[in-house]
C-alpha cells in the first residue's frame, strides 16, 4: 500500500510542526468553542476537532481551529486538511464540507475513505456543540 505524496506531506508537516498545523486544544466549556469528538479507540480512529467562532451580525465565522487525532497517517492528514478548509468559513459553509472533498484533496485510496468520513463527522459534531451554546 503506497501512501499518496499528499498524505505523507500533510502528515509530516503536522508531525514536525504541530503548533503551526493547529494541533492543540481549548477548554471545551468556553462559550465561543465548539467541540466534536468522533470515533473510538477500539476502531483505531479518534478525532477531536474544536472550532473557535466569532459572530458578526449573527453570522458565525470560524476564526480558529484546533484538533488532535489518534489514527493512521491518512486520518491525521485528513484532520489537518480539514483544518485548512475550515478557517474563515461560516458555520453554514462548514456544514457543506463533504468527506469526498477531503478525500480528493488528499488522493485517498478507497480503503482510506473512512478517514475522510470521520473528519466530516467531526465538523458536524463541533458545529452542533457550538450551536447548542447559543
Amino acid at each position: 500500500m503506497a501512501y499518496s505524496k499528499k498524505v505523507i506531506d500533510k502528515f509530516e508537516k503536522t508531525l514536525e510542526n504541530p503548533e503551526g498545523s493547529s494541533v492543540g486544544r481549548w477548554d471545551p466549556k468556553e462559550k465561543d468553542i465548539g467541540t466534536g469528538m468522533v470515533g473510538a479507540p477500539a476502531c483505531g480512529d479518534v478525532m477531536r476537532l474544536q472550532i473557535k467562532c466569532e459572530s458578526l451580525n449573527n453570522v458565525h465565522v470560524i476564526k480558529d481551529v484546533k484538533f488532535k487525532t489518534y489514527g493512521c497517517g491518512s486520518a491525521i492528514a485528513s484532520s489537518s486538511e480539514l483544518v485548512d478548509m475550515l478557517l474563515g468559513k461560516t458555520l453554514e459553509e462548514a456544514k457543506e464540507i463533504k468527506n469526498k472533498d477531503i478525500a480528493e484533496a488528499l488522493d485517498l485510496p478507497p480503503i482510506k475513505l473512512h478517514c475522510s468520513v470521520l473528519a466530516e463527522d467531526s465538523i458536524h459534531q463541533a458545529v452542533k456543540d457550538y450551536e447548542s451554546k447559543l
Binding site: 514536525e16 469528538m37 470515533g39 479507540p41 483505531g44 479518534v46 478525532m47 487525532t69 480503503i111 459534531q125
Partner: protein, 404 residues
C-alpha cells in the same frame, strides 16, 4: 549504515550471500540445470545428487532421516499438505481436528476448508502470553480426534509452544501431531528424534533462503500416510508431484546448513541486540511488550505504544521497515487476530508494532531506530486526544464514544 533499515525479519529474510553463490551454480547451461528426475544422463544425476545433499542438510538441522523430508513450494503448501493430506487419509478413523486461534492463515484456512468437508475443528485459546499448554490439548481430545496442528514459534509475537510436551500426549493417544515450524528453523532447537512429532512444515525464506521453496517432514517411524494434494508423476514418494527446482532446493539446503552452523552464535548476537532494544524502550510511559517474556524466539519484539495508532507510528518511522497489528495496516481493516486472541484490548492491538532483528541487523541500526522511535512517540502523543485524556486522568473505558 544504509537506509531504509530492515527490521521485519519475521516477515521474510534476505538470501544469505553464501546461499546465492550455491544457487547460481544451478541455473545456466554450464551449471547444474538438469531435471533431477532424469534418470538417463549425467545432467539428471548431478541435479539429483545436489537435491539429495540439500535434503540431508535440511534433515540435519532438525535431526531426522533425509527420507522423511519432502520438498514443497513453501510452508504454506506444507501446511496444506500435512493438514488436508492427513485428515483426508485418516477420515475413517475420526473427524475431529484440534488447532489454535493464533495459527498462521495457511493452517486456519486449511482447517476451514476441512470444516466445509464435514470435519469438526476445535480452535484453542492461547493464554494471555500466547502459549497453548499440553494440558489444554489433552482436555480437548475426544474419541473422534485424529489430528492436532499447532505452531512452534508464533509469527506475530515470537512465543514458543512446548511441542515436545504436546507430542508426548498426542503420540500416547495415537493422534497425528503437525507442527508449523516456519518461524523456528535456525532460531530454536528442533530434534525430531526426541520430539514425537508426525508432520512438520518448514519455510526457506524465513531462514535466509530463497522464497518459493519449503519442505515438510513426514515421520517414517511411526509411518505417517497422507493423501497427496498435487498429482502428476509421483515425485517425493508420491506425496508431492512436480519437477524439483534444483536451484531452489540447493538454496534451502545451504541456508539450513548455515543455520545449523551459525544458530548459536547468531542467536547470541540477536538476543543481545533485541534485549538492548527493549531496555531502551521499556522505560517509555505506557509501553507494553506483547507475548511471553521467557518463551520467546530471540529476534522478536512485539510492542504496544498506548494512545498512538500503529500505522501512524510506522509512517513516522519512514526509514524503518517494520509491521503492525493495527487494523489500518490490514486489507480487512480488522486488527491482528493473534493479538485479539491473547485477550488484548483492541486499542492496544491497534497500537502494536512488531520489530524483528536478524542476521544482518547491526547495533548501529538498532541505536538509530531507538532514537527515532522515542522521538516519534513523543510527537504522535502530542497529536493524540487519547494521550490528553489519559494525562487528564480520564478513564477511557468509561467514555461514551461516538463511533461511526
Amino acid at each position: 549504515m544504509r537506509l531504509p533499515i530492515y527490521l521485519d525479519y519475521a516477515s521474510t529474510t534476505p538470501v544469505d550471500p553464501r546461499v546465492i553463490e550455491k544457487m547460481q551454480d544451478c541455473l545456466s547451461v554450464e551449471g547444474n540445470f538438469g531435471n533431477p528426475a532424469s534418470r538417463s544422463h549425467i545432467f539428471g544425476w548431478k541435479a539429483e545428487e545436489a537435491v539429495e545433499e540439500a535434503r540431508s542438510n535440511v534433515a540435519a538441522l532438525v535431526n531426522c532421516d533425509p527420507r522423511e523430508i519432502i520438498w514443497t513450494s513453501g510452508a504454506t503448501e506444507s501446511d496444506n499438505l500435512a493438514i488436508k493430506g492427513a485428515a483426508r487419509f485418516y477420515k475413517d478413523k475420526g473427524n475431529h481436528i484440534i488447532t489454535s486461534k493464533i495459527e498462521h492463515k495457511a493452517v486456519l484456512d486449511s482447517c476451514r476448508q476441512l470444516e466445509r468437508e464435514g470435519f469438526q475443528v476445535t480452535y484453542l485459546d492461547p493464554d494471555n502470553t500466547g502459549i497453548i499448554s499440553p494440558t489444554q490439548v489433552k482436555d480437548a481430545i475426544t474419541e473422534e480426534t485424529i489430528l492436532v496442528s499447532l505452531m512452534h514459534v508464533n509469527n506475530e509475537i515470537g512465543v514458543i509452544n512446548d511441542i515436545q510436551g504436546i507430542a508426548e500426549i498426542t503420540r500416547s493417544k495415537g493422534i497425528i501431531f503437525h507442527v508449523d515450524a516456519a518461524q523456528s528453523t535456525g532460531k530454536v532447537e528442533i530434534d525430531l528424534k526426541k520430539f514425537k512429532i508426525d508432520l512438520m512444515s518448514f519455510a526457506s525464506h524465513k531462514t535466509y533462503g530463497p522464497k518459493g521453496i519449503g519442505a515438510m517432514y513426514a515421520s517414517r517411524k511411526p509411518r505417517i500416510r497422507l493423501e497427496a494434494q498435487i498429482h502428476g508423476g509421483g515425485h517425493e514418494r508420491g506425496m508431492r508431484s512436480g519437477t524439483l527446482p534444483t536451484h531452489q532446493i540447493v538454496g534451502m539446503g545451504e541456508a539450513f546448513k548455515i543455520a545449523k552452523e551459525d544458530m548459536l552464535s547468531d542467536n547470541k548476537r540477536i538476543k543481545k541486540m533485541r534485549d538492548r532494544f527493549w531496555n531502551e524502550l521499556k522505560d517509555i510511559e505506557e509501553v507494553y511488550l506483547n507475548g511471553d517474556t521467557e518463551n520467546r524466539a530471540d529476534g522478536f519484539m512485539n510492542v504496544s505504544f498506548n494512545f498512538i495508532e500503529g500505522e501512524s507510528l510506522m509512517m513516522a518511522l519512514k526509514d524503518i521497515a517494520i509491521s503492525s497489528g493495527s487494523a489500518c495496516t490490514s486489507a480487512s481493516l480488522e486488527p491482528s487476530y493473534v493479538l485479539r486472541a491473547l485477550g488484548m484490548k483492541d486499542e492496544l492491538a491497534h497500537s502494536s508494532i512488531r520489530f524483528a532483528v536478524g542476521r544482518f541487523t547491526t547495533d548501529e541500526e538498532v541505536d538509530y531506530t531507538v532514537s527515532l522511535v522515542k522521538s516519534a512517540v513523543v510527537k504522535l502523543r502530542e497529536l493524540s486526544p487519547l494521550w490528553d485524556m489519559y494525562k487528564d486522568g480520564v478513564d477511557l473505558d468509561s467514555v461514551e464514544w461516538v463511533a461511526h
